[in-house]
């Protein structure tokens, strides 16, 4: 599963728009609030990203691409027979560092 998700995200990343600049992708598989299988993906953005690019409208194409890639990978990787709900989140690099220091994802 880890390999599949890692490969899927790497492939998806190659298709991202040039801005906002994505410097890292993190993910975690788990169970969501109502007990469904889920995968959380954190898109880590360059700290130099202009404020004007830190907008839902700019994030949405990236999130759509990630969700579509995960759905496709899970559908085609039938041996897993898994239905994971993708939750895509965005953080700046400095924010991600702070989360890491706090010992979370």
């Amino acid at each position: 599963m880890d390999d599949l998700l890692k490969r899927t995200l790497e492939t998806a990343k190659a298709e991202f728009p040039p801005a906002p600049k994505v410097v890292d992708l993190r993910y975690r598989v788990g169970t969501d609030a109502t007990g469904d299988g889920a995968v959380w993906v954190w898109v880590v953005l360059d700290d130099a990203t202009p404020t004007a690019q830190l907008r839902h409208a700019r994030f949405q194409p990236i999130a759509d691409q990630i969700r579509a890639a995960i759905k496709k990978a899970l559908r085609e990787g039938a041996q897993f027979s898994l239905d994971l709900i993708p939750y895509v989140r965005f953080r700046l690099k400095s924010e991600q560092d702070e989360v890491d220091r706090a010992g979370a994802a």
């Binding site: 969501d32 109502t34 994030f59 759905k71 709900i85 939750y87 989140r89 700046l92 702070e98």
Partner: protein, 165 residues
Amino acid sequence: MHEDLLEQARHLATRDKKGKPKQANLRRAVSSAYYAMFHLLVAEATKHLLRNTMAKYRSRLARAFTHKAMKVASKWFTEGGTIKGLGPVTVPPDLKAVAQAVLDLQQARHEADYNLHEPLTRTEALEFVEKAEQAQKAWKRVRKDDVSDLYLLLLLTSENLKERD
């Protein structure tokens, strides 16, 4: 109500302009953004189902909506609209955006309220608020579409639908 909640969400997410924002403000912003969507859709559904002399029952019917049923229905609509027991329906992009916002915000609200282990960032909180704002605009554009009626009904009934025989 939903407009006030959305305004409150924006206010809280942008309140701490300098330095590290307070976790309480970011977390309440996300929670308010979700409930702005929740109350908008419940109000729309009850208004649609209970008219004229039945309007007095709207607030009571509103209590019958559950987060789980709203999630189930929203998940179907984000996945291209294959509805359990009904089959495929065509989902316009605006309705898909509304359903995606409900799905994302519901989970985010749960984490904001209960997962104190993981800090919520300003970028995340602002995106959730903006997602709710955009979804409310999308809803205004798509609410008259026939398939939006189905979505509203499924927000209440999705968990009771059976597979087709």
